[in-house]
């Protein structure tokens, strides 16, 4: 999985190794006009650049053109096949750990996905890292991002590849005198509350009256009506914020030694939701030594990221507080509890909570060390090695002040206030050794890589909590009087020990035909004892039509490549107790009353022959470059996810009805396109357009009957049943009729849509004019459905809390017969357009800035998420609001 590095090394070592760059894929999306045209130059020289991989490469310039700060936003903008489930509710939260995403469709059953979302593998310079570490990297350090989707690329990742791979290559210093780079970003951010349209105080009271309800009594209603209070809770809880980030890099070097030192800080940056804060501190050192054909480098970084929040409820919950409530106690302070004495509902006052010492704090310390070696053995052979050590420590502290409203109803004498501690740490060692060979003979060129690697990771977590804190400011566990009775101390520890080997070979003839093959063998502690060794393969063929004799005359046809690939990769979904007999203690079930005679029982019937989940990926791709003006790439893929985790029936005489097994198949079929056109090109003025999109269709191809019955027999309200032929992302709803006065359910819940869009993608323009650059980028989605939770609230929400304004209209809030259900009319088609970024930049002429010792100076203004339009009127950002921002970036090199 990691020979990508070998290849990169090879690239530096010997030009002939360049043929192996095919493994690194290609960049086609929004490439700004290239000045030097490096790749073209190389291509002309060696005429070997098959570039048949369907992996997507995003360059640093592209990333920064859409978002100079947020790596996650930038990556998910460019890769339309990324799907996320959390974004709609998490909004622009700086606290949320991004990284849960699907590449090219969902590959598991919906419930498995909800319990533990699949994550692609994240890799920084060859080392496996946690998603959090990946996205906390500074975007200015990124040289390029490679999103691996190609069957052959994924096969190389073996047991880890099935959910996709996102790789980062970082900038390395180049030869030259010492340079000092300084990056500054100043960000103004404000909440985007446009999706919220809540009732005002008087509207809320009107609705209550109309429905024959009161807040508690007629007197209380009268009080609210007369008080004239109309609190806009959303505005009270959000704020415009200014934050800033700084980064300094010092680098340079000569033929033998290169070095770089970096430091970055973004101190106590506030989020738009009051009480939220994020701070990043990072330092790094890189050194490289080269002697003849031997090279060694070491990169060491240390990062500390701290996030804070003070409110424990979700933003959507606070939006439900009625506008008629006054947060002030009239004496200059805040009320702890809002509502008249005889009111049915009493409300928490978030403004009061914000004034307390409560907090939820998360600190992450991470150390990353990566050593790389390479040795050119001559005659086309090269040896590469890598060793990395990654350690993350996460400390989470949650303090709920004893003065908090949540303890208001506790009787005197009970413990109030709670301090919870969770500590987790991950540590991994990884070593890799590879031998590559590259050569050519006549019109043939060929290469091979043989590598072995070893990975050992330890992950642990422990948490405990204490209760009984006397005063607000005594916020530490040492002040608690007892363990929390409601949460037992909890801990786990698990290991990932994997060893593997890869053999890849590649052969190209006359630059026209090319074949590459890969085999990967993994042995891992995460696999069941009887299936501990896993084999994967990948194979691709490509045909470069533009090089054919018959295409010679078509001078304008720079390139036309057809490629087909097939490959397998794996993923481990099962837990250890699924395949080994495990015992757990029946702590709450002693055998003899008061004798503390506890039993230990077998957790479940294990399946020692449990297999990993296999992804069988197939793709076809067409790449065309017409007159270097129009670049098009179209990928078609048909990926099967098979041997999923299911349950299979057992003979009842085994003592168990069923156990975990493998079965079922989910197919994701889709098309992706990337189009990049340079519509106008003059030395001082150029205009380029780009667009990309992806369509994915998810279908359950086979579904074991017993498993389907088991799964569908215990569906929660939100879950759609698994049905062969339907998508795993299906949405279901209950049909109903409305006769003008009353709405009635007319049938059982049925599948009414899928959450996957028909088409999702981006488009934009970039303009270069003299020293100015200008860019605009949009992302869109067409089709697919969403369950409109706001409509559900409008229909069924309690009128004593605040609702969307549509609740006032009888068209939306019907008289309904029966218990609230998820009606099919709440499932709506979702088309959306988001103006993701607008960027204006100015690069100073070097002769002008030389006087102030500057070599380079550029200024950018980037605006993100300026507007969002969608066909569904639904509250977005229910956990954390979305935000809009304007960033002023300065990049200076001394």
């Amino acid at each position: 999985m990691k020979q990508i590095y070998h290849l990169n090394f090879a690239l530096v070592l010997r030009p002939v190794s360049l043929l192996l760059t095919l493994l690194c894929g290609t960049a086609l999306a929004a490439t700004p006009p290239q000045r030097s045209g490096d790749s073209v130059l190389l291509r002309r020289t060696y005429r070997v650049e098959p570039k048949t991989s369907t992996d997507l490469v995003i360059t640093a310039a592209q990333l920064r053109a859409v978002n100079p700060v947020n790596l996650w936003d930038a990556i998910s903008f460019y890769e339309p096949s990324i799907g996320t489930a959390w974004e709609d509710s998490q909004g622009s939260s700086p606290l949320y750990g991004a990284g849960e995403m699907t590449l090219r469709g969902s590959k598991r059953w919906g419930r498995d996905e909800a319990i533990k979302p699949a994550r692609p593998v994240y890799v920084i310079d060859g080392a496996l890292v946690d998603a959090r570490k990946f996205f906390d990297m500074d975007i200015n350090d990124v040289r390029r991002i490679i999103i691996r989707k190609d069957p052959v690329s994924l096969a190389r990742f073996g047991i880890r590849g099935a959910d996709g791979v996102v790789e980062m290559e970082t900038y390395k210093p180049v030869k030259g005198a010492m340079k000092i780079r300084y990056c500054f970003d100043g960000i103004v951010e404000w909440a985007d509350l446009s999706s919220y349209d809540l009732m005002s105080s008087s509207e809320g009271i009107d609705l209550l009256q109309r429905e024959g309800l009161t807040t508690g009594s007629a007197a209380s209603m009268q009080h609210y009506r007369e008080s004239g209070v109309n609190t806009d809770w959303l505005r009270e809880l959000t704020r415009p914020v200014f934050s800033h980030r700084h980064k300094i890099t010092i680098d340079g070097g000569d033929d033998h030694v290169k070095y770089a030192l970096t430091g970055r800080i973004s101190p106590a940056n506030k989020g738009v939701l009051r009480g939220s804060e994020k701070e990043i501190l990072g330092i790094g050192a890189y050194i490289e030594y080269r002697y003849k054909s031997f090279r060694i480098s070491n990169e060491l970084t240390y990062d500390k990221v701290q996030t804070d929040s003070k409110l424990f409820g979700s933003f959507g919950d606070y939006a439900r507080i009625p506008a008629w409530l006054d947060p002030n106690d009239g004496r200059g302070g805040y009320l702890k509890e809002m509502g008249q004495e005889d009111d049915v509902l009493q409300f928490e006052n978030p403004l009061y909570e914000l004034s307390l010492g409560s907090y939820h704090r998360n600190k992450t310390y991470s150390i990353f060390d990566n050593v790389r070696l390479s040795l050119d053995l001559g005659a086309g052979f090269a040896l590469q090695g890598r060793f990395s050590y990654v350690r993350d420590q996460i400390r989470t502290d949650t303090y709920v002040s004893p003065s908090s409203w949540r303890y208001a109803s506790y009787p005197a004498g009970t413990y109030t206030g709670r301090y919870g501690i969770a500590r987790s740490a991950t540590q991994s060692f990884e070593g890799q050794l590879g031998l590559t060979y590259a050569g050519r003979w006549g019109r043939s060129s060929f290469g091979a890589t043989l590598s072995a690697d070893l990975f050992s990771g330890t992950y642990n977590m422990e948490s405990y909590a204490g209760v009984g804190i006397t005063t607000d400011k005594m916020g530490y566990i040492s002040f608690t009087q007892s363990y929390d009775f409601d949460t037992d101390p909890y801990a786990w520890r698990y290991y990932d020990r994997t060893a593997g080997g890869t053999l890849s070979a590649h052969y190209a003839f006359d630059d026209r035909y090319e074949v590459q093959a890969t085999a990967r063998l993994d042995r891992s502690s995460m696999l069941a004892p009887e299936k501990r060794t896993a084999l994967f393969y990948g194979l691709s063929v490509a045909w470069n039509i533009a090089e054919e004799a018959f295409a010679e005359r078509a001078e304008w046809l720079e390139r036309l490549t057809l490629a087909a690939a097939v490959g397998t990769s794996g993923a481990v979904d099962a837990a250890n107790s699924d395949y080994v007999v495990s015992y757990s203690s029946n702590i709450d079930n002693e055998y003899i009353y008061n004798y503390y005679l506890l039993g230990s029982s077998i957790v479940c019937m294990p399946n020692p022959a449990l297999k990993w989940r296999t992804g069988v990926n197939r793709s076809l791709s067409l790449q065309a470059d017409i007159a270097r003006r129009l670049q098009l790439r179209v990928n078609y893929y048909c990926n099967d996810s098979k041997d999923l985790l299911t349950v299979a029936p057992l003979d009842l005489a085994t003592g168990y009805r069923y156990n975990v097994s493998n079965g079922g198949r989910i197919r994701n079929t889709g098309v992706e396109y990337y189009l990049n056109a340079r519509v106008y090109e003059r030395p001082d003025f150029s205009i380029a357009l780009f667009t990309a999109g992806s369509h994915n269709r998810n279908r359950i191809e086979s579904l074991p009957d017993f498993f389907a019955a088991w799964y569908n027999g215990s569906l929660s309200e939100e879950e759609a049943p698994l049905v062969e032929g339907e998508s795993v992302n299906a949405l279901c709803g209950v049909p109903s009729t409305f006769d003008g006065t009353t709405e009635r359910v007319t049938g059982p819940s049925a599948i009414v849509g899928t959450s996957e869009p028909d088409l999702k993608g981006n488009f934009g323009v970039s303009v270069n004019w003299r020293q100015f650059t200008f860019g605009a980028a949009f992302d869109y989605r067409i089709g697919g459905s969403v369950f409109n939770t706001t409509l559900y609230d409008v229909q069924f929400g309690d009128a004593r809390s605040n609702l969307d304004r549509r609740a006032l209209q009888r068209d939306y809030r019907h008289a309904f017969e029966g218990e609230p259900v998820r009606l099919s009319r709440f499932v709506e088609r979702l088309d959306a357009l988001n103006f993701s970024s607008l960027q204006v930049g100015y690069r100073f002429r070097s002769e002008k800035i030389e006087k102030i010792w500057l070599r380079n100076l550029a200024l950018y203004v980037t605006c993100n998420n300026l507007f969002y339009r969608s066909s569904v009127d639904m509250q977005r950002g229910t956990s954390y609001p979305f935000s809009r921002n304007v960033t002023l970036s300065l990049r200076a090199t001394f």
């Binding site: 786990w492 007999v581 008061n594």
Partner: protein
């Protein structure tokens, strides 16, 4: 680099499997690590007993639940047991209950099997050799006894068809079940296991010397609690039950006789089980001191479940209740039932929250009142087995055969049989009628009466509403559940 490579290769090849075999820690631990300690075996054994008190096993279905209503001691108060009362196996609720019992019983057996596998191959040296034998013995005893329970539910009576092929005899934990066996072959396995159990327990089971007053350290086997486990006498009692079922009367009588040995070997105050004389039992209304093996319950479990079932508004006793108890002196009549409404007699006292076990000490040494327990096998049944086995053998003196029933009746404060014995014309044949009477009196709420009728393949059963229930071998036999239809139950 090459050296590193060689070193790495060596390291990998030498300790490869250990290196990959690492297991996580969390809420569970893998068997190999779990069984590295002597106490683990006791813990895993305790779990099996805990499993037995499930509502689908001795905490319900097999004692106070379905099987009891099948035996016609009670008229079902709720619709839940209506189908069991008329033995209608086509009823979905009843079928689901049967399936659950089947799975849970085999689950307990599976737990035994995994534990047997480990204790027989373990490298762990036990501090006390006898402890290992006791645990092994209990496991074999449980495996045999539980299999027999399944057999008498799901196979036709031995007397009807000893060649019926049905249930597998499970001796290995795993995903596959062994092939079904004929009743004869199955019983052979049951007896093998019980023999093995007796062999292991013989001489080392603390029950032989009665309970000791010395305190017990955590992890030690508490002699006071032996009747909460499959002890030596329980094994013999089950063996007597099995032999009687097979019609092997001499063996049955011999095993039963051996159980009574406890009464002579141990001084009464150290005895673990004995007949409760009137006035001795206090609040122990289920006469738990007569249990040779009973399953402990939790206050909120079995007692409350039984209270709901047989308490106020619950199941009413069979309509021939008055005929069963002609003598109202009978302690069972007086202490088990609420006779205040003659037309609605309830068994509200035998099991229930009021009925408790006294005389136990908690680990702290203080008096510990335990909730009533579910009997697995008790002295009364052994007495009846003894009498029946002797009576059915030619040439037995009727007085010898009746001896144990006389003891039982004496404890119940009735003189019915002793009066009849004075009649010189009283034969062993006549004694069998008294055995049946006692079967009808002594097992209210214990689920044993049904098996009495089944064993003898009675063509009619006196139904709880006063009518007669036509019985066939098919009606006596629970259908073996095929594939799980109730997919969502664990």
């Amino acid at each position: 680099m090459k050296k590193i490579c060689i070193l790495l290769a060596c390291a990998v090849s030498v300790s490869c499997n250990d290196w990959f075999g690492i297991s996580p820690d969390g809420t569970s631990v893998t068997e190999d690590r779990f069984f590295r300690n002597e106490n683990a075996y006791l813990n895993a054994l305790t779990d099996i007993y805990t499993q037995l008190r499930a509502e689908s096993l001795y905490g319900g279905t097999l004692t106070v639940g379905e099987v009891e209503f099948m035996g016609q001691n009670f008229q079902p108060g709720t619709t839940r047991y209506a189908a069991a009362g008329v033995l209608d196996y086509s009823d979905a609720t009843f079928a689901a209950a049967i399936e659950q019992t089947y799975v849970d019983m085999y689950r307990a057996i599976a737990s035994c099997n995994n534990l047997i596998d480990h204790i027989e191959h373990t490298q762990v040296v036990f501090n006390d050799k006898s402890r290992k034998r006791i645990i092994t013995g209990e496991l074999y005893g449980l495996r045999g006894a539980l299999h027999f329970e399944l057999l008498r539910l799901f196979h036709p009576a031995y007397a009807v068809n000893p060649n019926f092929v049905g249930l597998p005899y499970m001796t290995r934990f795993g995903m596959t079940a062994s092939a079904g066996l004929s009743t004869t072959a199955f019983l052979e396995q049951v007896l093998n296991d019980l023999d093995r159990a007796a062999k292991e327990l013989k001489g080392v089971d603390p029950i032989f010397s009665g309970f000791s007053l010395s305190s017990v350290l955590p992890g030690e086997i508490d002699s006071r609690l032996r009747t909460f486990c499959m002890n030596y006498y329980a094994v013999q009692a089950v063996r007597a039950r099995v032999c009687l079922y097979m019609g092997d009367y001499p063996q049955a009588a011999a095993c039963a006789e051996e159980v009574f040995e406890h009464q002579t070997l141990v001084e009464k105050r150290y005895r673990l089980f004995y007949f409760f004389a009137p006035g001795e039992y206090g609040d122990d209304l289920s006469f738990s001191r007569e249990h040779i093996f009973g399953i402990s319950t939790m206050p909120e479990g079995f007692p409350e479940f039984t209270e709901a079932l047989y308490g106020e508004g619950g199941a009413v006793v069979t309509s021939d209740y008055a005929e069963i108890f002609p003598d109202t002196h009978d302690t069972r009549y007086r202490d088990w039932f609420d006779n205040s409404q003659p037309d609605r007699v309830l068994m509200s006292r035998k099991f229930g929250t009021e009925s408790v076990l006294n005389g136990y000490l908690s680990t702290g040494g203080t008096e510990n009142v335990l909730p009533c327990r579910a009997p697995f096998i008790k002295l009364g049944e052994v007495a009846l087995i003894h009498a029946e086995a002797l009576a059915r053998q030619a040439g037995t003196e009727v007085a010898t055969a009746a001896a144990r029933i006389l003891e039982l009746q004496q404890a119940r404060d009735i003189t019915e049989l002793s009066e009849r014995l004075e009649d010189p014309a009283f034969t062993c044949e006549d004694l069998l009628e008294y055995v049946e009477r006692e079967y009808r009196r002594d097992f209210f709420g214990e689920g044993q009466l049904f098996f009495y009728y089944k064993r003898l393949n009675r063509t009619t059963m006196p139904k709880s509403d006063g009518t007669e229930l036509e019985m066939t071998s098919e009606r006596y036999t629970w259908p073996i559940p095929a594939v799980s239809v109730h997919a969502n139950q664990l």
